[in-house]
Symmetry: C2
Subunit: 472 residues, 2 copies
């Protein structure tokens, strides 16, 4: 981090902490430079950065002011964990329509948690594919079997080791993506009918999976900033008489909240799970996307008894088209491997070798720095735009990583109706009810994808969406 970036972080902390209020005038360039022992250029750099992130705004001939970014906090989700009896409304159709909208280039993709192609290292990845095709043509002519390519599992082992997670390559099974990894992990530890705890709100793909595999769903409400707290998990254990077979959790920047579990909470949660015989299935798919650049540890780093199965993929950072994910645990690797081997006769060596090559190239860390900063800026820009163009009373999440916003609309409009109305205007949004199996929840929430370049078109899309909401 250079000087003006450090200064910007300092100022941001004051804004978020409340010592600089919305609308308050920031110190002049000269004053702040004196206070912070910084050159005018550094202060200007910091202010410009904060401006570009929508945190502060310049008023002509008057200086900088704290923008209305510092959004009012979301309402708390329901306070107690609860079992869910899936309602009659079939969410599969809503999901299908959301996914179909994704491939219509005329539809503005607020609805999907997928970065636009601009944010993927297409050229570098493409080179890796070409290199594998050229140097190892056998990768398209041979069966390769689970647990997957040794080269990739070695790369993963190395990465995890840098995060404090000790694994051998043989503890890692490659999968057809993160959801497949979670599904295999579930099948390895639980039988249909068992209680599986999930977070709420949570990514609808997780709910879809848990439903399809026939588990009993227990939803545990998240704290909007802290994510899943040990207290809430404790309550859930009590509610279910301790019979939670597995817990699926996204400790780092969960979708849709972007919240981050503290290290202390992570340690405590793993301990609780261990004591209660619950296997944690950790989805770390957003872990590489911390706004502040610090890679948070996975839960698996606090796991001495192999209570955690670490799952994930690079679908949010390298490419969603690889269809390569991973599930890691020494204890459960044989069971996961057996599940995987029973379901597919082979694995895609081409994609696995290309991914291994890319990870080995060193390009990934540079790429991450670029997109982390872009997502941070974009998330702030979209927050600012939403608070400016959506009806007064709109509340927005304060993610600490990832690239999505969780937006609570005032006046209780029906988000599912909004999905339909917005689609008529060629804008997709993900309606809140998808994020719980209990369809009464999140009726007036939507999730907004911010990994979309901030253009005039984007600005217009926010305005148009604000108009649709106002008319509901």
């Amino acid at each position: 981090m250079n000087l003006y970036e450090s200064l910007a972080v300092k100022i941001e902390e004051r804004i978020r902490g409340g010592s600089l209020a919305i609308g308050e005038r920031l110190p002049s360039i000269r004053n702040l430079g004196r206070q912070e022992n910084a050159s005018p250029a550094t202060v200007v750099g910091a202010y410009e950065l904060l401006k570009s992130r929508g945190l502060i705004e310049a008023r002509e001939r008057s200086g900088f002011y704290v923008a209305s970014f510092a959004a009012p906090a979301l309402s708390e989700a329901k306070a107690a964990p609860g079992f869910v009896r899936p309602a009659s409304l079939d969410p599969e159709d809503l999901i299908l329509s959301l996914r179909q909208a994704m491939h219509n280039p005329h539809i503005f993709p607020f609805g999907t948690a997928a970065p636009m192609p601009d944010f993927f290292p297409i050229k570098a990845l493409n080179r890796c594919f070409s290199q594998v095709l050229r140097d190892e043509p056998a990768t398209v002519s041979e069966y390769r079997f689970p647990p997957g390519a040794e080269s990739l599992r070695q790369q993963l082992r190395k990465r995890f080791s840098g995060m404090g997670v000790r694994l051998a390559a043989n503890d890692i099974v490659t999968t057809s993506g993160a959801i497949d990894a979670i599904g295999l992990a579930l099948s390895a530890v639980a039988r249909p009918g068992d209680v599986v705890a999930v977070e709420t709100p949570t990514y609808f793909g997780i709910l879809q999976l848990v439903r399809a595999l026939g588990y009993k769903i227990l939803e545990i409400p998240l704290d909007t900033e802290l994510g899943l707290t040990p207290q809430r998990f404790q309550q859930a254990l009590q509610k279910s008489a301790g019979k939670i077979k597995a817990l699926i959790t996204v400790a780092n920047f969960c979708n849709p909240l972007g919240s981050l579990m503290s290290d202390a909470n992570k340690r405590q949660l793993v301990q609780l799970a261990e004591d209660s015989g619950t296997t944690i299935i950790e989805d770390d798919i957003y872990g590489d996307l911390a706004f502040d650049g610090t890679r948070p540890k996975p839960l698996k780093a606090f796991d001495s008894q192999d209570t955690v199965i670490l799952c994930g993929s690079f679908a949010k950072t390298i490419s969603p088209a690889l269809r390569v994910g991973f599930a890691c645990s020494r204890k459960f690797a044989p069971a996961i491997l057996a599940q995987r081997a029973a379901r597919v006769s082979g694995v895609s060596a081409l994609a696995e070798e290309a991914l291994a090559l890319y990870l080995d190239s060193g390009h990934y860390e540079r790429h991450l720095r670029k997109i982390r900063s872009a997502y941070h800026t974009l998330t702030a820009q979209y927050t600012h735009a939403i608070l400016s163009h959506f009806p007064a009373g709109t509340r927005v999440s304060r993610p600490q990583g990832g690239f999505v916003l969780w937006v609570e609309l005032p006046g209780k409009p029906d988000a599912r109706l909004l999905q339909t109305k917005a689609l008529e205007k060629n804008i997709s949004v993900a309606p809140g009810p998808l994020f719980s199996s209990n369809h009464g929840e999140y009726g007036s929430f939507i999730r907004i994808n911010c990994a979309i370049p901030w253009t005039t078109q984007a600005q217009k899309a926010v305005e148009k969406l604000g108009g649709v909401i106002a008319r509901l």
Copy 2:
């Protein structure tokens, strides 16, 4: 087919029909030419072809003789369908060791049903991958969702239509290979605990899948030449009081027998399934590999009421590394799609588009002609070698397509012990007990892969294996 090929077919029929016995001298070139109104060149061509296939042999200065190819028929499998209580011996380890052996280039791969890279169109496929990477870089940067690439589903629709199977592209869901297709089809029609009928002997991957999904397995013995007969299915229905939820069958050149169901039997089987409310899950993965070049119809071609889900992939003909298969049925497509969408968040657009491009190029039919003929010849050559070098009394299947042989060893040696002993000599074989969930079955059978070029090394491997068997 040219003149000498037709003549060769005629002679082969006589040999197989028994009117020309093993060891019998064939007519002289002049005599046969007169009988068949064929030129000497045509007769020589036919004899050379039969020789190359191991059906006849030349003896110096004495003419051509029927080789010992016309193997004694296999013993019949157990005559009645039966429920299977999986024995205590865990077959997963045997399968794992088989698959691990596959990647050791020092091990001669008799044990896998996978052609050597020589038999795949690597260059042409590689060009298709490169073209997709060059022309459609978005395929590595975008989520693509089930049911899969429209281009591929259109190509499949066209192919099936040529086989008398009428489907719309929307009736087709792409999958991560044939076993994944069968698993999704099963999940769409049956619940854990339901009765699923399988053939016996059958590919162990199917058994592994059915076990992992928690179904009750009913095994129906195959006729060694006719495959699954309607009579046997009828018996199975009676045995299970009509409660067979799904039947997994490989009508065309099943692995390991290579048998072919007749069209009349196919029609009757589909009718029986329809009447009894059983869904047929058809695995057509070997259908393109008929020795006589005639593409047999899938069961699905005889299906007016959507009783059949047609599954398969191109793993045996184009590449086992694509990890792209298909499941087809108008009625069940929505349920299969729901299962697929719940298990994976996306599909591999790169592999699907490359495959579609390859199928569209017209290269496939040429390639099939080449490998069908090669597999026919190789299967005969290996049969001949096995009968020459294995202990007297060895019996060999008479496949009509595919590229594997099912070999019954005399004197009841333990095929699992043989697997171990052969591996010590760097030869893999697939032991018979893997091909049934009832581990008492096929104790002295092995499956032999013939899609391996016929070289001195191959010849030595057969001899060495014969030696291992003799010493057991």
